[in-house]
């Protein structure tokens, strides 16, 4: 406060002509009026939390908005070595979470990631500053989870070796996802980039057969990510008849370039992604295809987009129908007997259980039947010390098995089976293994590197780099639609991708979806709200009635608040379009 003494005027001549202080008011820091203070706080955008691979979605879109596409691709690779793969096959829960969904349409994040991945590969992966540790990690399985773990472990200075049972690396990416969704050259390029980063992949070595557990166990740590390759059986009569193919096996043979002869009429049993992929592959091999699924469309686990594409391509889907028995004629498959079902009360998965309708059986003649009602992991080779239950390896919150140095991830350890979740589990394993190799307790690390409240982990944060764009320092509240100030956003149309002409689909495995074209990429990126992240939009700076918000010096982003003059009115926070500021009680 001031040292000034009150002035008493004794006569008119002493008084000022108008109401003005006698001296400078510099002593009076008007910030003393404040009881709540604004603060810049980067909060979690919903897309970031929703990404099972833990991508810094908002961060890479920000770079793309500025036209820095190569930097965006490198930013993604700080978390995820598979932007080209994810830009094609991910079911993009980021877009489901996008706050723009409640405004007009979500940002086309999935397509933007694919555009970023079209950039040439960088000479080296994003720098970590980690020296060689001399530690070895054996990774069993070269699917998205295993390769992601290997990529990050190599970046962290370790020596990962990936053992793959099949002839080529990629796991389900290569053998499960058809080429019309994920062209082989795209996958090969990303796998090659991972090996160029110091990952050794040995193909044709099946764990427990070609390489023993005791050999694998010589590594300093082990990551088991063998996937699920065992087709679940229907357990109905005549299931072993020739002409009845397991879905994943069928997809593997198509991927390996040796598709079986199917005949004209093909039936697929199941409602998951394997069923849809099998049906669309069979269609491309020249057959007409019908899917039979025992529940309704609402309960189908397959990605909605893929189901829509299958229907558009001419695949017929019959709901509420279940197989009773396969029909044979002289040991050859002749057809299938099915019956109608109706939905009863929910089962343990929360979906309504199909119940047979008595007397509704009917027969259908068919040349080939593909069964795709789910896959399980082959875990028979595991040593007994590694526990598993219901054909799933038992892991703790951060992927550790019942053996301290052995971790597991991907489909063999998770209930959710998709590429992006597998990538996320590979990242978690890489961080947890690194902590284990450095004798660090991961329990305390995990909350710090978790994106938002429920998201995947961030490797950048684990490496103490903050988030890749250096703004998101730690876990934070996820920004909801209600948190935004919509006065500052305009509606704008979501940019659409083009797809392969239907005439070309029944005979070719050419890629169906095209990427966004160059000129609309930036337009689409600019639709991003940047929920919770300051974009230097100057709203706080312009609205502050006390000029208490100042720009940081030249070359620096962001603002600082001159608390000497901030009166805590909160206008800056209110006018922030994207909830990158909060009001809080002062410390």
């Amino acid at each position: 406060m001031s040292d000034e003494k009150p002035i008493t005027y004794h006569n008119l001549g002493e008084m000022p002509e108008y109401v003005i202080s006698e001296a400078s008011m510099l002593w009076n820091k008007t910030g003393t009026w404040r009881y709540l203070a604004p603060r810049y706080l980067t909060q979690t955008p919903p897309c970031n939390q929703q990404c099972p691979a833990g991508n810094d979605v908002e961060g890479f879109i920000r770079l793309m908005e500025k036209g820095a596409i190569a930097e965006a691709a490198q930013l993604i690779r700080e978390e995820n070595p598979f932007p080209a793969v994810c830009g094609r096959v991910c079911y993009h829960p980021c877009e489901t979470g996008c706050n723009r969904t409640q405004f007009d349409d979500p940002v086309a994040i999935h397509s933007l990631e694919r555009v970023a991945a079209e950039q040439p590969f960088p000479a080296t992966p994003p720098e970590t500053g980690r020296p060689d540790s001399g530690k070895t990690v054996a990774i069993i399985g070269s699917g998205p989870s295993g390769l992601t773990a290997a990529y990050h472990l190599a970046r962290m200075g370790h020596q990962p070796t990936v053992y793959e049972a099949l002839d080529e690396p990629g796991g389900l990416l290569r053998y499960g996802i058809p080429a019309y969704r994920l062209p082989r050259n795209i996958l090969k390029a990303e796998v090659d980039h991972i090996t160029s980063c110091g990952v050794k992949i040995i193909c044709g070595k099946r764990a427990g057969v070609d390489i023993s557990w005791s050999d694998l166990n010589k590594s300093d740590a082990v990551f088991i990510t063998v996937g699920v390759h065992r087709n679940r059986r229907l357990e109905i009569p005549a299931e072993n008849t020739a002409g009845i193919l397991p879905g994943l096996g069928f997809l593997e043979s198509v991927a390996g370039g040796t598709p079986p002869r199917l005949g004209q009429h093909v039936i697929v049993i199941g409602g998951g992604n394997t069923a849809i992929d099998s049906a669309r592959c069979a269609l491309r091999l020249g057959s007409d295809v019908s899917i039979y699924y025992h529940r309704s469309r609402d309960e189908m686990p397959a990605f909605e987009e893929e189901v829509n594409e299958a229907l558009k391509e001419g695949v017929k889907i019959h709901f509420l129908t279940q197989p009773v028995q396969f029909l044979t004629d002289n040991q050859h498959l002749a057809g299938i007997q099915l019956r109608e079902t109706r939905l009863g009360s929910p089962d343990e998965s929360g979906r309504r259980r199909p119940e047979p309708v008595p007397g509704s059986e009917f027969d259908i003649p068919v040349n080939t039947i593909i069964t795709a009602i789910g896959e399980t992991a082959d875990l028979d080779w595991l040593p007994p010390e590694i526990s598993h239950e219901n054909n799933r390896i038992t892991i703790n919150l951060f992927g550790q098995t019942s053996l301290e140095k052995v971790f597991a991830g991907g489909d063999a350890a998770l209930t959710e089976h998709n590429v992006t979740t597998a990538i996320g589990s590979g990242k978690l394993a890489a961080c947890a293994i690194d902590a284990f190799l450095h004798n660090q307790d991961f329990t305390g690390i995990m909350p710090r590197i978790t994106i938002g409240e429920t998201g995947a982990v961030s490797v950048s944060r684990y490496l103490n780099h903050g988030d890749a764009h250096k703004k998101q320092g730690g876990p934070g509240k996820v920004v909801s639609f209600e948190d935004l100030n919509l006065a500052y956003f305009r509606k704008s149309a979501r940019q659409k991708i083009t797809t392969l002409d239907f005439n070309n689909r029944s005979s070719s495995f050419e890629e169906v979806n095209n990427g966004l074209s160059g000129e609309v990429t930036v337009i689409e990126a600019k639709r991003c709200f940047h929920c919770g992240v300051c974009t230097d939009c100057d709203n706080c700076y312009m609205f502050c009635p006390d000029i208490a918000i100042l720009k940081k010096g030249p070359g620096e982003e962001g603002y600082r608040i001159n608390m000497d003059y901030c009166k805590g009115c909160g206008i800056c926070v209110n006018e922030c379009p994207r909830a990158a500021m909060i009001m809080e009680k002062e410390q």
Binding site: Y9, L12, M15, E17, Y18, V19, I20, S21, A23, S24, M25, L26, N28
Partner: protein, 386 residues
């Protein structure tokens, strides 16, 4: 340079020649031309000033209060309901002792909606602390705006230059536009002792307790008293420099008159014709033009009317429940004189109705035929009751 200008553009020229640096205004008929012209002057570079579009007249006045506080010569203009909306800020401008100059085009207030001449709008702002000048012709509009700044900045009071809607605002007359250099050599630049300065921040317009408030307000009254002298000096100096002298009032044939006709604004021009005509007919009549209403030139009015028999005041306004405002003010000014004229009060020309020479002559005749004034103002030119 002589140009044929409408009254509104004469006001624009006055502001331009005064080198105002900030203009904030909101459009209202019949004032809008003034700021339209100024906005063009700003946009084409003829005037180096910030033109601020605002959302209301209240904001317009608030904005010029702010800019004047930072030490920047500022201008605004309004009319009628717009001026009424400024009311709160008018008090502020005067209490803050800011030398703002504004133009008010006198227009009737609604309802009924009426865009024509009537002094009710600015006279309703009588007690806000502004100097008020009521102007007769377009030349005087331009000259009064320039004089306004010199007066205002000498006494730290805001000045309102008022003139009649359409009779002046939209009527074209020859106007002598002085050279910029000539105005610059007469009107000094605005350099206040104090202004809002981040380098030396001071508190402005803060709380004043009962122990000092009355003194602050006495200062305001003192400034108005001083302004009477300053208006005269400035008007005289203006005359010496530009050849057109001005004062608080103007008198015509008053010295030997027994009857003095008293007018303001554009109604003075037809009164001049009537007085000349009656003088030619041998009547001892004079004309007093009330140019400055605040501060009220009490001493001069006393001096002029002191020994007259009759004063006739024509008001284009009415204080509802009392009567003609100029008449009432004049009665108040001469009340304590031992020799004072009878004051006849007439209300005419409200809402743009004409105050013609014939009408004024009728008023004079009516006074000549009456014994004494009515207790209330008489309304002239009304339609018959039946």
């Amino acid at each position: 340079m002589k140009k044929v200008l409408m009254g509104n553009h004469a006001a624009s020229w006055g502001a331009k020649l005064s080198r105002v640096r900030m203009i904030a205004a909101y459009p209202i008929t019949p004032q809008t031309h003034i700021v339209e012209e100024l906005s063009e002057m700003c946009s084409d570079g003829r005037l180096d000033a910030k033109f601020l579009k605002v959302e209301s007249e209240h904001s317009a006045m608030a904005s010029v209060i702010a800019s004047e506080t930072t030490g920047v010569r500022s201008f605004t203009a309004s009319s009628s309901n717009g001026l009424a909306l400024m009311h709160e800020m008018l008090h502020w401008a005067a209490g803050a002792r800011l030398p703002i100059v504004m133009v008010n085009v006198n227009r009737a207030l609604a309802p009924g909606w009426n865009i024509w001449a009537d002094q009710g709008d600015s006279l309703a702002q009588r007690d806000t602390g502004w100097i008020q000048i009521y102007v007769e012709d377009n030349q005087e509009v331009l000259d009064s705006v320039i004089q306004g700044y010199r007066i205002a900045e000498q006494v730290n009071l805001p000045v309102m230059v008022c003139y009649d809607a359409f009779f002046l605002s939209h009527t074209y007359e020859p106007v002598d536009i002085p050279d910029q250099e000539s105005v610059d050599s007469w009107l000094p630049s605005f350099e206040p002792d104090n202004f809002l300065d981040p380098e030396n921040p001071k508190a402005y317009y803060g709380l004043v307790m009962p122990d000092n408030y009355m003194e602050m307000r006495y200062r305001l009254q003192q400034a108005h008293e001083a302004a009477k002298r300053v208006v005269s000096e400035v008007g005289n100096s203006f005359g010496n420099h530009f050849g057109r002298p001005y004062d608080l009032v103007e008198t015509i044939h008053c010295d030997d008159a027994e009857t003095v006709l008293i007018t303001s604004s554009s109604a003075t021009s037809p009164a001049r014709l009537v007085v000349d005509k009656l003088r030619d007919a041998g009547r001892k009549i004079g004309l007093l033009k009330m140019r400055v209403f605040r501060p009220f030139p009490t001493e001069i009015v006393q001096e002029i009317l002191g020994n007259k028999k009759t004063a006739i005041v024509i008001d284009r306004n009415c204080s509802w429940g009392k009567g003609g405002i100029f008449a009432d003010e004049i009665k108040g000014a001469i009340n304590n004189l031992s020799n004072r004229p009878m004051v006849y009060s007439f209300i005419a020309g409200l809402g743009g109705r004409g105050i013609t020479p014939d009408l004024i002559e009728d008023i004079v005749k009516q006074v000549e035929n009456s014994e004494s004034p009515a207790t209330s103002s008489e309304w002239i030119g009304l339609k018959p009751f039946n």
